[in-house]
């Protein structure tokens, strides 16, 4: 069986871009958590999570965003989220994550958002 979830790491304008592919549920969320933890520990606290190939997210995946964001912002970084398909966006939105995170259309918009507001203004 093909890997149901993968993370493609790259760098864009000094930002760490994590491209998610497949589904993010209780089975695959630990891999995402490990990756975010690794970026944070390496001091790469300015992250863009690119979701155009993410087909599904459950609360286990959302929990990773929720559990790290305070520490990341305290360290001067942020997580900007981009490329959400409508059915994935509705999950973020219904829980109020769109008020908590900068959610933008694509990676260039996330790069620009980091220039305008390195940490989301709440």
């Amino acid at each position: 069986m093909a890997n149901p979830f993968s993370i493609h790491k790259s760098t864009e304008n000094g930002l760490s871009v994590l491209g998610l592919e497949g589904y993010l549920d209780a089975h695959t969320a630990p891999e995402f958590e490990k990756t975010v933890q690794g970026e944070f520990e390496a001091g790469r606290t300015r992250m863009v999570v690119e979701c155009s190939r993410l087909t599904y997210i459950s609360s286990a995946g959302l929990g990773v965003f929720m559990s790290f964001i305070d520490e990341i912002r305290a360290a001067g970084g942020d997580i900007k989220i981009c490329g959400l398909a409508p059915k994935v966006f509705q999950v973020f939105d219904i829980l109020g994550f769109s008020a908590l995170f900068d959610i933008v259309p694509d990676v260039p918009a996330a790069v620009q958002r980091f220039q305008e507001a390195p940490v989301k203004e709440t």
């Binding site: 149901p4 589904y23 549920d25 209780a26 089975h27 958590e33 599904y56 459950s58 609360s59 286990a60 959302l62 929990g63 990773v64 929720m66 559990s67 790290f68 964001i69 305070d70 520490e71 409508p86 059915k87 509705q90 999950v91 219904i94 829980l95 109020g96 994550f97 908590l100």
Partner: protein, 145 residues
């Protein structure tokens, strides 16, 4: 109440089977005339219920089995998730604000909100170690001919 159609899926209690469970309910939702976003919400609600059973009621014991029943008639779809694990009282789930959950670095606690957001009714019948049953109902809004 007699349902027009009934379906059942029994899977070992392992989170790797959540994808199979989602495919099962997705087929039933689509066949019942639900729209794409509604089907996505149905998949999510059932995934959350089953993940709770696997991780909490059965504490990741893969020798246990999670049972999912789906019943459909012309105006509603009912899902039952059944286990014989330790169960929990949903009234005991803390209803914290999202900001407080972030401050507490919480990873869990969102599943119940999602189930209630996407389904019209959510009920628990808990008999720990005997039978715990979560029933969720989604009303079907079919176009009037």
């Amino acid at each position: 109440m007699a349902w027009e159609r009934e379906f059942a899926l029994h899977v070992p209690s392992s989170t790797e089977n959540l994808a199979m469970i989602r495919d099962f309910v997705k087929s039933i939702g689509t066949q019942s005339g639900m729209g794409d976003l509604e089907v996505a919400g149905l998949e999510l609600a059932v995934d959350e219920a089953c993940a709770n059973v696997m991780e909490h009621a059965y504490a990741e014991d893969t020798s246990k089995e999670v049972k999912i029943r789906a019943m459909v008639d012309h105006d509603a779809l009912q899902i039952e998730v059944i286990d014989t694990g330790k169960g929990f009282d949903p009234a005991m789930v803390e209803q914290l604000k999202l900001e407080d959950m972030v401050a507490a670095k919480r990873k869990g606690g969102l599943g119940m909100r999602l189930m209630k957001s996407f389904m019209d009714e959510v009920h628990y019948e808990v008999q720990p170690g005997v039978k715990n049953e979560l029933k969720m109902v989604k009303k079907l809004h079919k176009a009037t001919p």
